[in-house]
């Protein structure tokens, strides 16, 4: 892939991205918070940079190849994350430093939901809206990345889903059908968002909060327009709606795609990954709620509400909160964090290692045990009725090792900047799993972390979002060889 080609795509991407800064201007004018000029400047910078990249190279056209998907995915989050931070730096009174702005912007685009800002309730509306919108855009990108692009690239065993996804998703070529797929997925994504927003409004949110929270709920982001997150509303109805939409978004969008195209719901219960996710979440909820009751941390109904909400929110890697789970007794905080490592389904907007990989790892473990009992047995690892080729199983193990290795490397890096151990591992885990909340000193916000640590976390968010190998492959010489 030539440099001119990359610049052309980048330029185009930036010019399109600048359009997303127009709605905040409208919000700003509507609420009269006086922030519209910051967005105008950001648009100007972005468009100018984009045009400078695009115009000289606009004739460098070529059919995209499967391998180019790695680069586009990395660019989408990398470059847009940088330019997305522009408005946050330019907004006068509420302006953030470069590091903080980039952190906040990446946290939004990767749907992590970790924030460096304190006093969110006092932020100008335009900025509030912009943060929520960043998550929504990130989620939109992930849906296509996770359902359409990653399977064709086969990152970390994700080729598994390629065979099961019907129709247009089967093809390994990026164009032209991938655009059709993307359109259908975005349509589903937008419909879900709208449904979520209307439900929130029906449950008593005003339209601005409803819009903002629907953006971050469907994207499994975790940004909120209030410091107290969903807990601000203290409404069982709103919590229930949030749980429902987090669960929906934590399931593979290819399932939603099938539901939408075939108009039936039965395959949600036939899909092994969705079933495993629901069962294991139900188990976790039971553990959390019972622990809360037994230790007398929370009273009966509140314990039930908070227990279920926090489990779903953390395990799906959304990161909304109604209570401070880091203060919960016993092993609960750690347990929830481990659940975040498992994460959501593949092909969803959630993060983590993805349920399907965990299922595969468990099944392979069981196979090893069976082999000890029956040395001559030939045992297939099966997901549902489909047997998984050994190559994919190996890729999953590779992914798992890389994930763990990366986690420890970054943990060491963050600790080296002077952060204590609990804060360090929880922030790295949170960033890598695109979760959001952390423990220790970062349990409220990430503002007090050292800048070097913030940059490491930005990298962790990007790596976690792009399933590690998508980023790592760009650093190999072989990828760039003609």
């Amino acid at each position: 892939m030539s440099l001119r080609m990359i610049l052309r795509i980048l330029g185009l991407l930036l010019m399109m991205f600048s359009l997303t800064m127009v709605p905040p201007i409208a919000i700003s004018l509507l609420f009269g918070d006086g922030m519209w000029d910051a967005f105008l400047i950001a648009i100007a910078i972005t468009v100018a940079t984009g045009a400078a990249m695009y115009l000289p190279n606009r004739r460098a056209r070529r059919e995209l190849r499967t391998r180019d998907g790695f680069l586009i995915a990395a660019l989408f989050w990398g470059v847009l994350g940088l330019f997305g931070s522009l408005p946050l730096m330019l907004t006068g009174s509420a302006a953030l430093s470069f590091t903080d702005a980039v952190f906040e912007s990446f946290s939004g685009l990767t749907t992590t939901g970790a924030t460096v800002i304190t006093g969110i309730d006092f932020l100008p509306e335009a900025i509030l809206y912009y943060r929520q919108q960043l998550q929504w855009l990130g989620g939109m990108g992930i849906v296509v990345l996770a359902v359409a692009i990653l399977p064709t690239l086969g990152v970390g065993g994700m080729a598994l889903y390629r065979t099961e996804i019907p129709g247009p998703l089967k093809d390994s070529k990026l164009t032209p059908r991938i655009t059709e797929t993307a359109k259908a997925l975005w349509y589903i994504y937008a419909t879900l968002t709208l449904a979520c927003m209307l439900a929130y409004m029906a449950a008593g949110m005003d339209w601005f909060d409803a819009l903002g929270h629907s953006f971050s709920t469907v994207a499994i982001g975790g940004f909120s327009t209030h410091d107290a997150s969903i807990g601000y509303f203290d409404s069982a109805a709103i919590e229930a709606i949030c749980i429902a939409f987090m669960l929906i978004s934590a399931m593979s969008f290819s399932l939603h795609f099938m539901a939408w195209r075939e108009r039936r719901l039965s395959h949600y219960f036939e899909d092994p990954e969705a079933r495993f996710l629901l069962l294991y979440l139900a188990g976790l909820c039971a553990i959390a709620v019972i622990t809360l009751w037994l230790t007398g941390t929370e009273e009966t109904t509140i314990g039930l509400r908070h227990g279920i909400f926090e489990v779903v929110s953390v395990a799906t890697t959304a990161g909304f909160s109604v209570a401070d789970f880091s203060a919960w007794p016993g092993a609960l905080p750690l347990l929830l964090f481990i659940a975040a490592f498992v994460g959501a389904s593949s092909g969803s907007t959630g993060g983590g290692m993805k349920v399907i990989r965990i299922i595969l790892i468990i099944k392979q473990g069981m196979r090893e045990i069976m082999r000890l009992i029956h040395p001559n047995a030939v045992i297939a690892v099966k997901i549902g009725k489909v047997s998984v080729p050994d190559g994919i199983a190996q890729a999953v193990w590779g992914f798992f090792s890389a994930y763990v290795l990366l986690f420890f490397l970054m943990l060491v890096g963050v600790m080296a900047t002077g952060v204590d151990q609990v804060t360090a591992w929880s922030t790295v885990g949170s960033a890598l799993n695109n979760l959001g909340p952390a423990l220790g000193e970062a349990s409220l916000h990430y503002g007090d972390m050292p800048s070097t640590a913030k940059w490491i976390l930005v990298l962790a968010m990007l790596m976690g979002r792009l399933e590690i190998f998508t980023v790592l492959v760009l650093f190999t010489p072989a990828f760039w060889r003609k």
Binding site: M370, H374, N376, A377, V378, I379, A380, K382, S387
Partner: protein, 457 residues
């Protein structure tokens, strides 16, 4: 009857042998001239060498005036096309074909008169699998045959010392178990048939065939022998079509292990089967059997396509402690040799499948034929038609019916009701009558019995 058989393989060959013995004009078509010659010298049949689905070959085989075409070549597709050709070009009235691949069988409406014109589909592997499955579900039985879609079963068991009925007259059975109605259809003592009467005494080692409603089978079996425990642990040697189907049926209710020597096939099986433990290795390997705790297994089924391997592995498994062994044996000569010794049950696949074909060759309204005792005896399910004028069966009490010698009526199924045949039961039109024919030479007479006289029309 003029019958054309396509394919001179195991099924085709055995079929030709059975049908030729019954005064039918048989023509066998196959591409393998050597096999045809071998059949030709042994049996009184005509053979045609050529591709079975070609119109020219079919014409040469006499398809124009044949009454029936039986397509049992190795290829499903050839069988289907042959039936299509016979239907379209020669208007052959009855077409029977073997179709094995389940994808063809999954959709209804494919094998219809106006689509692929096959009147009767047979699947020998399915028949053999069902046969073995019934044996596993009835521990202790030598043979379990079903009639009237499973309402009535005919079971063969070996009487053992210690069974309450052994050493008693048959009449004692009724007094001993007043609530259970059954009828002993035949007794084989030292391989010779005895027609049972009320005063016949059952001896140990007798092979007793009895008919009863499905729910009463266990009670009757307990009269003749100590009941075996239900089989739980099943080891299947040989992962061919039969082994796979059997494992598929049993794996949810039993613990199934399967031994297969071909690694590629093992992988395939492990992908298709859910709970079966698929083992790679030879069924005759002592070490493998030891490792897999053969001494704890309730039944060992040797189902490879090699008779010798089946027999040897069965004997080995039995020696090492398998409680029961069941062996599939193609070579009819071996069956008599091994059954009753170390091997508890020997199954001849041809014999199991031949019945489903004979059903369609028989005259009269016959819905089920089971070939027994290597074809010497037969159990038949026939439907009685007509009235007391036109039929020799309808309107008469069973005691009054003039049955050919060596024939007993075991039961009658009227709608959903099972009537065990006692002398005073009167046969009505539409009844399914289940008969046991000890001497197959009397089959013609039995057929005639159920054909309706001219006055009926």
């Amino acid at each position: 009857m003029k019958i054309i058989i396509l394919g001179a393989g195991q099924v085709g060959g055995t079929l030709a042998e059975h049908l030729a013995r019954e005064e039918n004009d048989i023509t066998v078509v196959d591409t393998d001239g050597e096999r045809l010659r071998e059949l030709h010298t042994r049996l009184d049949i005509r053979t045609v060498s050529g591709a079975a689905s070609y119109p020219m070959v079919l014409r040469q085989a006499g398809c124009e005036d044949a009454d029936m075409l039986i397509a049992v070549t190795n290829s499903d597709e050839v069988n289907m096309i042959a039936c299509q050709v016979a239907h379209t070009l020669f208007r052959t009235p009855t077409k029977i074909a073997r179709v094995r691949a389940t994808p063809y069988l999954a959709r209804k409406g494919l094998f219809a008169h106006e689509a692929v014109p096959i009147d009767v589909l047979i699947s020998p592997e399915q028949v053999v699998t069902d046969h073995i499955r019934r044996l596993i579900e009835h521990p202790g039985a030598l043979q379990v045959l079903e009639f009237a879609s499973g309402l009535v079963q005919l079971v063969a068991v070996k009487a053992f010392y210690g069974g309450p009925l052994v050493g008693q007259e048959l009449g004692f059975l009724r007094r001993h178990m007043p609530s259970v109605d059954t009828r002993v259809a035949a007794i084989y003592r030292r391989n010779r048939p005895i027609i049972p009467r009320g005063d016949t005494v059952i001896e140990a080692d007798d092979e007793v065939f009895f008919i009863a409603a499905r729910r009463d089978i266990r009670a009757v079996m307990s009269e003749l022998r100590r009941l075996d425990r239900d089989f739980r642990r099943v080891v299947i040697a040989g992962g061919g079509n039969i082994g796979e189907r059997l494992a598929e049926h049993l794996e949810h209710s039993h613990q199934v292990k399967m031994i297969e020597h071909n690694l590629e096939r093992c992988t395939q099986l492990s992908e298709r089967l859910d709970r079966t433990v698929v083992l790679h290795g030879s069924a005759t390997s002592k070490r493998l059997l030891e490792e897999e705790n053969i001494e704890d297994c309730d039944i060992f089924c040797a189902l490879t396509n090699d008779d010798e391997v089946n027999i040897m592995s069965s004997m080995l498994a039995k020696r090492m402690g398998a409680k029961k062994v069941l062996t599939l044996i193609n070579n009819a000569a071996y069956v008599d040799l091994v059954q009753g010794g170390e091997i508890d049950i020997a199954i001849s696949p041809q014999q199991a499948t031949i019945g489903s074909l004979l059903t369609h060759v028989r005259r009269g309204d016959i819905v089920n034929v089971h070939s027994l005792r290597r074809g010497a005896a037969e159990a038949i399910e026939a439907i009685a038609h007509g009235d007391s004028q036109s039929s020799r069966v309808v309107g008469r009490a069973i005691g009054e019916i003039d049955l050919p010698s060596g024939t007993t009526i075991g039961a009658i199924v009227r709608g959903k009701e099972v009537l065990i045949a006692h002398d005073d039961v009167v046969v009505e039109s539409g009844d399914h009558v289940i008969l046991f024919v000890v001497d197959k030479r009397r089959i013609r007479d039995v057929e005639r019995l159920f054909q309706v006289g001219l006055t009926f029309f």
